[in-house]
Symmetry: C2
Subunit: 506 residues, 2 copies
């Protein structure tokens, strides 16, 4: 097995896949000087003092003294450069190398009345406020108990989308608009054949106000009622069940899968429970798969602003237009202000644990997260839960916390999710399926029932990034076409809708 790993052809450093000892010969003929721990960087050639050090083909810092080929590269000889405010908006944007239309891939999806493409055909019972959450879940439970889905084989399931918010908040600020967008993005999600909204009646987050804000959905695609209007819990549940059987399920059951171009895919990118291999195996492999999807005319949604923090100038340089880069910087400034207000700190600096694992600079750390978005242009920067409108790679402003990030990405229209994990996150979501990619083989083996893809084969020397990227890309098409992901088989997705709230709860 090759003891080192090169993340980009031109990089002057590689990552050790095992502990390297003094005098050991590397495949390129260089001899290791001193020792280099597993996961740390080794110099592949001499680097001058002040010379730029590249990893992932990107600058991660500058040499603070001359570095000889074979030396360990870390805090003792690598430092941060003054870089952070040269956003150089769009300076590295380049034309996308699209696959000719005639040669593009397809998947079997649902074409909705509004032109959007779904990968699933669920019916959603969506609550406007926590006060109606129990009713939504009981409707789902009764559908199962009474076997009401039996006559509707084309419906993937009736699911409850509930949450802890919706009242005792100002209805005038951005936080309220975010909640409305988050819920509405699910109401109008193409993975739903139809939805029913259930409210209490007196909540701040009024369902009719959402209809007014966003416009009346096409007839039959959305129904709503409130508990107070229906006269209580039991009557509301019965009314929902009656409406489901008489109208909603028969309508949703008419949907059929048909061949749709891969350009209709909007893939949410997420990582959770990262480890030292995340930025070396799973994330770069996912980045290559994203590049392939974008070449097909498809879309990907990077998120998790606090984890991008410190590498924002790399994204601004890939912005298709200066405004796109500027929108990202505006979001970065918002986070600095918000975190400071709440005595928090936005700071993605490597922790002592990261440093022990071989990460030297904030750039290197953030690059490990950002590289899952591949190398194409940044086509738009979205507010939380804002609909994806431009094809290509977008960035949505979300927290790094998995359920809140994914909830925003799905609200934006993501019809598939690729989730990399090192420690073993078991994340699944509805109505958007989640493909989980393990960064290392031991965890994959330990949790194989939960993991869809093992990218640890790269560190094991058994596969290249391109080979794993190919498996990810094919898995995207398979799952988008209705193939079950591991988290779907396990029944995840009834607890993971967690809207992000930035305002004071009164």
């Amino acid at each position: 097995m090759n003891p080192i790993f090169l993340l980009h052809p031109g990089d002057p450093v590689a990552v050790a896949l095992a502990d390297l000892s003094d005098g050991e010969a590397l495949p390129n003929g260089v001899t290791v000087r001193g020792s280099v721990p597993r996961g740390h960087k080794v110099a592949l050639r001499d680097i001058d003092r002040d010379g730029a050090v590249f990893k992932y083909g990107q600058v991660i810092g500058h040499a603070t003294r001359p570095i000889a080929a074979g030396e360990h590269v870390h805090s003792h000889n690598l430092g941060m450069s003054d870089h952070t405010d040269d956003y150089a908006h769009g300076s590295l944007a380049k034309p996308t190398a699209y696959v000719p239309e005639a040669e593009r891939d397809t998947f079997m999806g649902y074409r909705r009345g509004d032109g959007k493409a779904g990968t699933r055909n669920y019916v959603g019972i969506i609550s406007s406020v926590n006060c109606s959450a129990t009713v939504a879940h009981h409707v789902v439970r009764e559908v199962e108990r009474r076997g009401l889905l039996e006559g509707f084989p084309n419906v993937d399931g009736v699911i409850a989308i509930t949450h802890g918010l919706g009242c005792c908040i100002s209805n005038k600020n951005e936080a309220f608009a975010m909640l409305q967008r988050t819920i509405w993005g699910h109401v109008r999600h193409p993975n739903f054949g139809a939805v029913m909204m259930v409210g209490l009646g007196c909540e701040t987050n009024q369902i009719p106000a959402m209809v007014e804000t966003f416009g009346k959905p096409p007839a039959g695609s959305m129904h709503y009622l409130t508990i107070q209007q229906m006269g209580g819990t039991r009557k509301t549940i019965e009314a929902c069940l009656e409406k489901l059987v008489s109208e909603v399920l028969p309508a949703a059951n008419k949907a059929r899968r048909e061949p749709l171009p891969a350009s209709e895919l909007i893939v949410a990118l997420q990582c959770g429970g990262s480890d030292g291999l995340s930025g070396i195996t799973a994330n770069p492999a996912l980045g290559l798969a994203v590049d392939r999807l974008v070449a097909q005319g498809g879309s990907a949604v990077l998120a998790e602003t606090p984890e991008v923090y410190g590498a924002e100038h790399l994204l601004t340089r890939r912005a298709v237009r200066p405004e796109v880069g500027e929108a990202l910087i505006e979001r970065i400034r918002w986070w600095e202000d918000y975190a400071a207000k709440l005595d928090g700190e936005i700071n993605n600096n490597p922790t002592p644990g990261n440093k022990a694992g071989g990460l030297t600079t904030i750039l290197e750390k953030s690059l490990g997260a950002v590289c899952k978005a591949g190398s194409t242009n940044l086509v738009s920067v979205l507010r939380y839960a804002e609909p994806v409108k431009e094809r290509g790679m977008s960035m949505m402003d979300t927290p790094g916390y998995d359920p809140m990030g994914v909830t925003g990405q799905v609200a934006g229209g993501s019809n598939l999710l690729c989730f990399t994990t090192g420690r073993g996150s078991v994340f699944g979501y509805k109505p958007t399926p989640s493909i989980k990619i393990a960064t290392n083989t031991p965890m994959y083996r330990h949790m194989e029932e939960d993991m869809d893809i093992n990218a640890g084969t790269i560190a094991d020397g058994e596969e290249t990034h391109e080979q794993v990227a190919d498996r990810i890309y094919r898995e995207i098409l398979r799952v988008a076409s209705g193939g079950q992901s591991k988290s779907e088989a396990l029944g995840f997705g009834d607890c993971e809708f967690v809207p992000w709230n930035i305002s004071a709860q009164m």
Copy 2:
């Protein structure tokens, strides 16, 4: 029917229960001058200019011009007085008139090993982070599917307590301490016979760290495991089920109800979906029931700081010690600062809708909420989810939002909940049962399957406050003894655990 309603014997104003017309004779012989709409105040005697106007036996403002008996009392002749910073800590505290011990009431409850008293005997599956929420719910589902409760008739049920928090937060600030307290207050709640905690493994909110913070619970009362340690979702569910059947359920099943003094009751007070009658019927009647409970040596927990705002000096005057009153003011200042930081506003001023309904000043409005805590001393002011330690009436700092408020109150040890509602909230909780008290008869009739008690009979002239208070008090003892509340019959309580988060989610 008496057309007016007097909230306290000495009050110079009464509330109109129907529209009053010019010349109409009131029961006390006074003649109505002009018209007084339903829900508004009418003067029962002449009030001098600058004279204090009392309602609930409390000053709600001063006459801005002379008011004649029979006149409508509202914004045109009643204004706010300069009162707000005279906290007069403890000036109105008085000895509690306890019922002699030998004459005290009892209920049938569970005496736990640590001395605490439970009103239910559930087994809880509690998640440390959203990432383990699905596993917790699936354990509960499998218990039902496989009929695993069959041999354990003394266990009220196996329930999942899950939430949207637990990771990507600082573990150094008060917000994290709040989350730990909230979860631990449920882990150690006397309404649980035993609990199992389920974590993912890599979350910020580590289960062992909670055990270290709060101390090891008595053997057998708490078990925990993580998904990453067990090797995935299915194996974790099976391990939980095995532990439940072999150890947890048999242990919990040993609990038996026995007569316990009413002094062991800790009743959370909450209102949701309030209306114009909340402060006139249900809340004051609940206040009388609370006074009766406190006279028995029992405890009540007022909460909802934003709704107390503006009437805090009334509570500080009832403080048993100056520090207690000062602790309340410290919380009020915290809210002002917190709301300002998030571009919010803490302001309980009457809205145009409140004014149209007859509420003139902020004092009058807050009094309508505070009066559900009765008239006894304020014995302590608690942080969110802090354990109730002093018997009597305490105030816990929580948002007004029902699920977040109740989650904190239950974490503090509340073993029963009284919830007043005018619009018709259908709130239920587990493991603490909820008694819902309707403020008006039309809503009670409309939603009778959800409402436990109708306090609208007071406005109807059919019962006095004392009569309704007696029904509430007896219902408290009945439900505490295992009698089913309406929300329990309907199966509420699997979605309403919503911890309050005041920090930035990263």
